[in-house]
Assembly symmetry: C2
């Protein structure tokens, strides 16, 4: 909202809390704020931003108040279920996933330029209206975000691999270390844990609700990525078990070489 | 060496390269440097600092030149093999593992206060001489490091969990993501990889020789930690497969709660 206002768009906000509406106006995050969806009458674009499981019901609340030309989008981190559901109800719907954020939430956490240089995925499907695509392409540009266009399925597979899978494998590391608690080695492990453990365990020690939600809404792709991951882990385990030290080093050299193709994009 | 000199110890350095010796003197890292172990005649303590596989042969080179009272220690990251081997040859041997370092190596990478506030594990065994324990305790104190005393077995189990296991599970993540290269989802995954992937994959994209070496010298404990890890991963997978979302969230809440007991020690 801050960035859209900065380039001259007029922004309307809806909240379930009058206090949030008051703060949004006071902090100049939006031009107009209110509890009732009637205020959306006449807007060009609606962003549905509730937790992923509530996007459909949020749309049901606002739909009666929208003109048929209104473009509707969401910001959910999984697209496979919501896109066909809302597309069937609204031709000008287009799924979106802006990939930026902080650990904070709520109106006081609003900050300018949050999406600058970060990925924003749009997931049009066959028959998504040209208006929806063009409008959202222009708005993503307004945010300074990097636009990516993908099918909902490709989006969900990609985020399963690079975002949801890390949560699970990182959580399993913490659980494995916790199991040794109470033994001398376990106490020593706690004292010796350094940057390797800290980084590898970070996302597994994150918000449990978020982890549950991505697993729930991206279950099939997460299980598929876990299959691939477990196979790769077994390959490494076999090299260690067979004392194939040259093979292990070659495999680790390959991962060392591959990582920058993922990480450098992010570091840009 | 820099820190020992700073508190008044006289430091002798041995290298296979005359150039390294010259730079060590020039940079005031040591008081005396040379290619020949004869210069160690009369020293009180010897630190063996070659790669882990070469510690035994390094000791064989210097041993003929040491007085029988000399304390000998090493800085290898696995203790189970080297400690009994050298203890059998030298009563004043005590295993050590100072846990600090940078990605750089070589004489130009020397820096003061590297060990300040970091763990330094000593691994005395039955019959390790009191002289060796007392001398090394005092030197660890001189470095400002945090002393931990453990059996070689407990040390190796602890570092397998918090240091060696993360390398393998992190490398498997990179391999899993690489497998999708070439597909639309794989290309998108590269573009979308953000901090979660970056942190979880960091140690798996590190020095392949180091990864090979810890696996080679800590094989049995690494395999044991992989067993525990794979069991924990299967537990999480079962929750996802069974759609036990409450159970998954409870498990992720437990890992969120457990992580600080490892990480806060490090952040001290």
């Amino acid at each position: 909202a801050l960035d859209f206002r900065a380039v001259g768009h007029r922004v309307y906000g809806i909240s379930r809390s009058q206090q949030t509406c008051d703060r949004a106006i006071q902090n100049q995050v939006v031009d107009v704020a209110g509890l009732h969806p009637q205020i959306l009458k006449g807007v060009d674009v609606v962003f549905l931003c509730p937790p992923i499981g509530a996007i459909g019901s949020a749309f049901a609340v606002v739909q009666p108040h929208l003109s048929s030309k209104t473009v509707v989008t969401d910001v959910g981190s999984v697209k496979g279920d919501i896109v066909p559901t809302l597309h069937a109800q609204w031709p000008h719907f287009i799924g979106g996933h802006p990939m930026a954020g902080t650990a904070q939430s709520g109106i006081e956490a609003a900050q300018s330029c949050l999406f600058q240089g970060r990925p924003y995925v749009l997931t049009p499907v066959v028959n998504t209206s040209a208006t929806a695509v063009e409008t959202m392409t222009s708005l993503v540009h307004d945010l300074g975000a990097n636009l990516h266009v993908a099918t909902p399925a490709d989006h969900d597979r990609a985020v399963a691999l690079i975002s949801h899978l890390p949560i699970i494998i990182s959580a399993a590391l913490i659980s494995a270390c916790v199991e040794s608690n109470g033994s001398a080695a376990g106490l020593l492990a706690q004292a010796l844990a350094s940057s390797g453990f800290r980084d590898t365990s970070r996302v597994g020690g994150g918000n449990p609700e978020l982890g549950r939600m991505v697993a729930q809404f991206n279950q099939s792709e997460l299980l598929r990525s876990l299959d691939v991951y477990e196979r790769k882990l077994q390959d490494l385990r076999a090299l260690i078990l067979d004392q194939s030290w040259e093979g292990l080093e070659a495999q680790l050299a390959a991962t060392q070489q591959s990582r920058p193709s993922f990480v450098e994009t992010f570091d840009q």
